[in-house]
């Protein structure tokens, strides 16, 4: 999913930096849906995601005059979105493990990506991750950002971004395998 912020969009950013509300409106319209999608995937809650998106868009408007290099808008704006997600995440700890059980007699179809079982497993596994780890997973696997851009957006070293992604994926894999073993045991009984 390529970033929409390249080339000519820089002119819009510069206009908005100088207080042009129309230019900012165009920018916001371009990024709002994406921001909502990203924050919903990080926070796993549409209400929190809408609040985070609103916070991030207003923060962009307020802080745009301080953006030194408009060509870096995309990484900078993702940083503000992630900050907003952190703020919303602290507000309510809604990512406690969801312990909804699979129905008995429903064997796990390991290769069926669209199965309800996989979605449930991933949801549970993802909710167990810290918000740091979720963020890297979403930026990498949903937005297709390379690790160096993720590091820039999160203001962390590339090695840290790589490490967070590694640990997050290991956690998700463990969750999938653990649930698969449980389901196999249940099916054998």
């Amino acid at each position: 999913m390529p970033s929409p912020w390249r080339g000519m969009e820089t002119d819009l950013v510069i206009l908005a930096q100088h207080g042009d509300k129309g230019a900012f409106g165009l920018i916001a319209a371009r990024i709002a849906d994406r921001f909502l999608a990203v924050s919903r995937r990080i926070l796993r809650d549409i209400d929190l995601a809408e609040d985070a998106t609103q916070q991030a868009l207003l923060a962009i408007w307020q802080d745009l005059p301080g953006l030194r290099d408009p060509a870096r808008f995309d990484a900078w704006s993702y940083r503000l979105l992630v900050r907003a997600c952190y703020a919303e995440g602290r507000k309510e700890r809604r990512w406690a493990p969801n312990l909804r059980l699979l129905s008995e007699g429903e064997p796990l179809a390991k290769d069926d990506l669209s199965s309800v079982a996989d979605r449930e497993q991933l949801e549970r596994g993802f909710r167990r991750l810290t918000i740091d780890h979720r963020t890297v997973v979403v930026l990498y696997h949903y937005l297709d950002l390379p690790l160096d851009e993720i590091a820039e957006a999160l203001d962390i070293p590339v090695g840290t971004a790589h490490s967070r992604l590694h640990h997050a994926m290991r956690g998700l894999r463990a969750a999938l395998e653990s649930d698969a073993r449980s389901t196999e045991r249940e099916a054998a009984l």
Partner: protein, 225 residues
């Protein structure tokens, strides 16, 4: 490795599951709040790109040549010997405050032609700041030294930068050293301070740790001792 790829594939597929997410309501709310949400003023100009365009380079080069020519002319031997024109005793010239042509590397760089003489509230001269097609000219009026920083400010008289329209006040802030460091401050379209000196005092009070945002200059700049 195969298992890792499977997990990656499963996670990607899960994250990209189609869910209708429309931020229209959020967007309308945000846009309705812009009028009551002021932008935070930065104390350095914003920048278009990391590279000057060719036209700006030519302008900067022309400005540099002009400064060299003017300075060089001052050192040409004057005809005043036998048979020559009579010399006229020069009137005392105002003391140099700051003079040079340089690039302030804050952000991606503004070209600055600075020529200031005098002291305190009796500063005269100008500062021309340009980058690309944007720029402004400041009619310098006053100077202050606050916490080791040299502030030189005045009125913006010409501008193609909407952030600093003519009639507003602007200043350059310099930190002595090798290289000298610089940053800009301006009052924008806020109600103007009562005087140039008050403007600098207000800016110095409002900016806090302005030194943290300063960047080294490249080029030449001569400062009063």
């Amino acid at each position: 490795m195969s298992a890792n790829r499977d997990v990656n594939r499963i996670v990607r597929s899960w994250l990209r599951t189609d869910e209708h997410e429309s931020a229209d309501a959020v967007l309308q709310l945000v846009l309705s709040r812009l009028d009551t949400t002021p932008q935070r003023r930065s104390w350095w100009p914003t920048w278009r790109s990391n590279r000057m365009n060719t036209y700006a380079k030519l302008l900067a080069a022309a400005a540099a040549v002009l400064v060299v020519a003017v300075v060089g002319y001052q050192f040409l031997p004057r005809a005043g010997g036998p048979g020559g024109q009579p010399t006229i005793a020069p009137s005392p010239s105002p003391a140099l405050l700051a003079r040079g042509t340089f690039t302030a590397t804050v952000g991606s760089g503004y070209t600055v032609v600075l020529d200031a003489t005098g002291a305190d509230s009796s500063v005269s001269g100008s500062m021309v700041v340009s980058q690309g097609t944007k720029g402004y000219t400041v009619d310098l009026e006053c100077t202050r030294t606050i916490d080791g920083l040299l502030w030189i400010g005045g009125d913006v008289t010409q501008s193609t930068d909407s952030n600093l329209p003519a009639g507003t006040r602007a200043a350059i802030v310099l930190l002595r050293g090798s290289p000298v460091e610089a940053i800009f401050a301006w009052q924008g379209t806020d109600p103007p301070s009562a005087s140039c000196e008050a403007f600098i005092d207000d800016m110095a009070a409002a900016t806090g740790d302005i030194q943290a945002g300063m960047e080294p200059i490249t080029g030449t700049l001569e400062l009063a001792p």
